[in-house]
């Protein structure tokens, strides 16, 4: 098993944090994981990306070559990062922020940022909502493992809201095939 995931958006949306949390959970469950990201001008305002490879075997080349899944949380990121998706791969779009759907066979639109704003009052939680959805869709790690690492990483007074964000993401991904 080797899965290549790319989480993309713009600087400040927390895609790197979501990628780190996925990788941390995978390692805690005994898998190999490699997480990297693009920095520099493209990460500030433009399209930025964080990548995670999760595998049963040692990972050598540390960057994603052909993603199995791309999450895009802005239109710019969607346009820029879906093109090298595996032909059977899945493109997940934040319904609130990506108005135009790229031409790709398997696309899922989820109301990620909308849920964060309407249920938790802040778009800040969108990355954790997205993470909850990714955990369910990929089945790579257990939701409980991810919860532990989210608790460790976020400020104590936001733990409850973050747990709720994870659950919102998990629930909204219920029907994704």
């Amino acid at each position: 098993m080797k899965k290549q995931l790319r989480l993309s958006g713009s600087g400040g949306q927390g895609v790197i944090t979501a990628a780190i949390l996925l990788a941390e959970a995978a390692v805690a469950e005994g898998k190999e994981a490699a997480q990297s990201q693009s920095y520099g001008p493209e990460a500030r305002g433009g399209a930025s990306k964080a990548e995670v490879i999760i595998s049963d075997e040692t990972i050598y080349h540390p960057h994603v070559e052909t993603p199995d899944l791309v999450l895009a949380m802005t239109q710019k990121a969607a346009d820029k990062y879906y093109s090298d998706l595996h032909k059977d791969g899945l493109l997940i779009l934040d319904d609130s922020l990506v108005p135009e759907t790229p031409d790709f066979p398997r696309v899922v639109r989820l109301p990620i940022t909308k849920l964060a704003v309407e249920e938790l009052g802040k778009s800040l939680f969108a990355n954790i909502v997205a993470l909850g959805a990714l955990v369910r869709i990929t089945g790579l790690v257990q939701l409980d493992t991810v919860k532990e690492f989210v608790k460790k990483r976020v400020p104590p007074h936001t733990v409850d809201a973050n747990m709720k964000a994870l659950q919102l993401g998990w629930d909204v991904a219920a029907n994704v095939q």
Partner: protein, 380 residues
């Protein structure tokens, strides 16, 4: 849950330095090395050490050299642009034999170049950046786990040889997070101490049997004079041709005589290999993947990875060139270590460069293409 955890290369460097006994860090943060300073700032005071953010790069070097002379184990971390600014005092440390570790997490140059974009373009600068004849030890890890080991090794070599040791990292490994299980204990080379009293005729720069002097730390009860001028065993400058020649020779020989012991290389898929890729650092991971793909297509190719960059692995490459039909050197630059590979191969087989310098790390397919090209050239 196991002890395995996700860790970044730069974090592993900082944690290893503390495990190896580094108790003084001075630096001027620069991407892609910043997390080393950040982690040191957080962890070093908790471990009883001192972290200082200095006003610039040369001052950081000055601070660590002063602290080293006062008995601390020291490290400084930077990237190419900062490394350029430290060169004067790197030479001073080599001449005055002050133990120190310099981390260079390379990015695209020259000058301020491309902040944070991966590169391996400082191979020759770590060797020859400072002027004059001087020896250098440089290590280049390829994984987060090996970054830990190489950092410990760098601290120990600095102390053992009383010389600057360079940890030549790259963005691919420095910013990579992956699974590590760290050792609970590491072997530490202690600070060398005077074996004679002043009454017994102690001379601070008199070499021991391994050609390294046991220079007393400041505050240890000895009179010490430290200078970047060529000096005799007393530590005071002398204008003598004989002392100059002996000093420069001894600086080199103290490291040359350690020889193969400090030259670390690894071979993969080499048993029946007819061709070889030579690489190092983060690029070697991609080379590994390329070699695996070539093998799957029936090409008998292996990988030789240099962990020690300097001193150069002359013997390993010389023997490799005598064995294989061609060598591809994969490095993320316009061509630097390839010149050393050619020199060591000494015409025994063709040596080609697979280089790249466009802000992007290699893809396996690019190195694979260079291997296929070499095979085509040789087999016709």
């Amino acid at each position: 849950m196991s002890k395995a955890r996700l860790m970044q290369g730069n974090e592993a460097c900082a944690e290893a330095a503390i495990a190896a006994g580094v108790n003084f860090f001075a630096g001027y943060p620069i991407t892609p090395s910043t997390e080393i300073a950040e982690t040191m700032a957080k962890l070093l005071p908790q471990a009883g050490g001192k972290f200082i953010q200095m006003e610039d790069e040369i001052a950081s070097m000055g601070a660590i050299l002063g602290a080293s002379l006062a008995g601390c184990k020291v490290m400084d971390a930077t990237s190419g642009p900062g490394f350029s600014l430290k060169q004067e005092l790197i030479g001073y440390a080599a001449c005055a034999e002050i133990p120190c570790v310099l981390v260079d997490v390379q990015r695209v140059g020259p000058s301020t170049g491309q902040p944070t974009a991966p590169s391996q373009g400082d191979v020759m600068q770590v060797r020859w950046g400072t002027h004059g004849d001087h020896p250098v030890i440089a290590l280049s890890p390829w994984s987060v786990r090996e970054t830990f080991d190489a950092t410990v090794m760098a601290v120990n070599y600095a102390e053992r040889f009383r010389t600057p040791v360079m940890l030549l990292m790259d963005e691919m490994v420095g910013h990579l997070r992956e699974k590590v299980e760290l050792p609970e204990k590491v072997e530490i080379y202690p600070r060398r101490k005077p074996t004679k009293t002043r009454a017994e005729g102690y001379q601070p720069f008199a070499p021991e049997a391994d050609l390294v002097p046991n220079v007393a730390d400041f505050g240890e009860g000895y009179h010490i004079h430290v200078t970047g001028l060529i000096h005799d065993e007393t530590g005071f400058p002398v204008g003598s041709p004989k002392v100059t020649e002996e000093s420069i020779r001894r600086l080199h020989e103290k490291i040359e005589r350690a020889g193969e012991e400090i030259i670390h290389t690894e071979s993969y898929f080499m048993d029946d290999a007819e061709y070889a890729v030579v690489s190092f650092g983060g690029t070697a991971r991609t080379a590994y993947e390329a070699v695996r793909e070539a093998r799957a297509a029936g090409v008998k190719v292996g990988l030789v990875r240099l962990m020690t960059i300097w001193p150069f692995a002359d013997k390993v490459i010389g023997e490799l060139a005598a064995k294989v039909k061609g060598i591809v050197t994969a490095e993320l630059n316009y061509g630097q270590i390839v010149h050393e590979v050619r020199r060591a191969a000494n015409g025994a087989c063709p040596v080609s460069l697979c280089g790249k310098y466009n802000m992007r790390a290699f893809e396996p397919s690019e190195i694979l293409a260079s291997v296929n090209e070499m095979v085509k050239e040789v087999e016709g």
